[in-house]
């Protein structure tokens, strides 16, 4: 926003390269550098032997001289990490599917059946999205304990939908709104039931919305921490974030290499999924906010 380039207003294609470099590329490059640096640092620590990691005098910290897989090996074979990974996958996939199912039904009913009071229910569900997990985890812990779900995957599978359903429902309501009513009316006249309409007409047409919601729900549940920290106690039932924080630190001894390896390998699945569906992800993120 410098005032020096006032003259080039609206004709930025005429802007000389050095000027555009200073005004756009340089700041953009700097910001991207800061946004990516922690990932680079994570990767460096993952593949660096301990000898290099703790000696900044002899070795340049930015570089790896003798890359090693020892940290990853330690993580996979000496800890419960594979179990944490498995738990995280099971919990994320199940809670995503439960949430998608419940949200598709709810969004269809609110947006298309327009039953009595549907607008208020829609609003109430949106307000549910604003209730943060850090307020709910204490009473939820009491409930989880009473239901006998403590220290099991089911505790997480059943509680994650509380923050996924409001988001997915709100997003899908927006998508369903874009499908013309006439299509459904025609089908109704032809004698289709509501369920058939939902499955054969509305859902296929709103597939991008369902995918967006699914990807977002999956990354949100992969990311979840406070419920998993509270409801799970034994090592073999933990998820990756909780396991990494609680099991890889022995008193004052931090296994930095293994910690970084856990951080890196725990991030990779979401990043891969995200990179395949980045457009859906972005539209879900902005769509939910713009409503």
């Amino acid at each position: 926003m410098s005032t020096a380039d006032d003259q080039s207003v609206g004709m930025d294609y005429l802007e000389s390269f050095p000027r555009k470099f200073l005004r756009v590329y340089l700041p953009l490059g700097l910001i991207i550098f800061f946004l990516l640096f922690p990932f680079y640092w994570m990767a460096v620590a993952t593949f660096k032997p301990d000898a290099e990691m703790y000696d900044y005098e002899k070795y340049n910290p930015f570089w790896i001289l003798h890359p090693t897989l020892e940290h990853i090996k330690k993580l996979f074979f000496d800890t419960d990490y594979p179990l944490w990974m498995w738990n995280t996958v099971i919990v994320s996939v199940s809670s995503t599917f439960i949430s998608l199912f419940a949200s598709v039904c709810a969004a269809y009913a609110i947006e298309r059946l327009r039953y009595k009071g549907s607008r208020y229910v829609g609003l109430a569900i949106f307000l549910g999205y604003l209730v943060p997990p850090s307020i709910l985890f204490i009473p939820l812990a009491a409930i989880v304990f009473q239901l006998g779900l403590f220290d099991g995957n089911l505790a997480l599978i059943l509680t994650y939908p509380t923050f996924l359903i409001p988001f997915c429902t709100w997003l899908l309501m927006g998508y369903f709104r874009t499908i013309p009513y006439e299509l459904e009316e025609c089908a109704l006249i032809d004698g289709a039931t509501r369920l058939q309409i939902l499955i054969k007409i509305t859902l296929p047409l709103s597939l991008p919305g369902v995918i967006s919601a699914g990807i977002f729900a999956f990354t949100l549940s992969w990311n979840e921490f406070i419920y998993a920290l509270t409801f799970i106690s034994s090592s073999e039932n933990k998820t990756i974030p909780v396991g990494a924080i609680t099991e890889l630190v022995n008193g004052d001894v931090y296994h930095w290499g293994a910690l970084m390896a856990a951080a890196l390998t725990g991030s990779v699945p979401v990043v891969i999924l995200y990179s395949f569906f980045v457009e859906y992800y972005v539209s879900a993120m902005t769509g939910a906010v713009k409503e």
Binding site: D6, Y13, A106
Partner: protein, 315 residues
Amino acid sequence: MAVMAESGVAQVKRASLWTRAFESRNFLGAMFMVPAITILILFLAYPLALGFWLGMTDTKIGGAGRYIGFQNFVSLAKDSVFWLSVFNTIFYTVTASIVKFAIGLYLALLLNERLPMKSMIRAIVLLPFVVPTVLSAIAFWWIYDSQFSIISWVLIKAGLITRYIDFLGDPWNARWSVVAANIWRGVPFVAITLLAGLQTISPSLYEAANLDGATNMQRFRHITLPMLSPIIAVVMTFSVLMTFTDFQLIYTITRGGPINSTHLMATLSFQRAITGGNLGEGAAISNAMIPFLVAAILLSFFGLQRSRWQQGGRD
């Protein structure tokens, strides 16, 4: 919910045919709502109410509590650690949100320029938001390490400092460190959402302003900001809510230390309720967050109403 199901049934009174019932919008609507509403009532609405109740009891983990009225709040009011956590939470939220907004808006404006590989850059920018917070916080933990911090190393090599900075050992250093990590994580969300908002502004507005001889600054001030203000209000409400109730970053990087100087209300309530076993007291602390959250939501809601009204009251 149950009431709605009944009224749906009541409308097809005595028709006693399932087909009639399934043609009624109200009955069908209620049926479709069953899965979502069951989960939300059982695990969202009920716990919310239970949380209010727990906050007024002396419940310990593994034992039934009894009603003690506002005693938890009375003892919290005299608890200096609680007030420190309130201060920390407000400091954390205000500083992080302001910087996130400033950098986020700047980044959105930069991304809105004519750029090569635009969609790839956008995808990269969003990465900190996608990667699980705890896992990226572990990276920050290592970046802030007292002996092996890369920041200290670079600054020493550059001759700017002489001793390693104790990022997480000193109260104010620790506060700024967690704020920086929060900004890092939050900027992409603000930037990408504001970028989506920027792209909805019609270029013809800028062309018209150009013809009238408006400067860059004037165009930003009189077109971009007003057109963007509704989405700014929404994004910042979300951002403030997420920052205010943050738990993961603090728990991972400092666990509230040193000497409680980074405890947020959320981490303090976890410590008292789960680690300390006083569910009632922990619930009271998280309940104390609610007025702030409601205020933030109302503020942006009425802010939006006002800007709509100023723009000619459409909608």
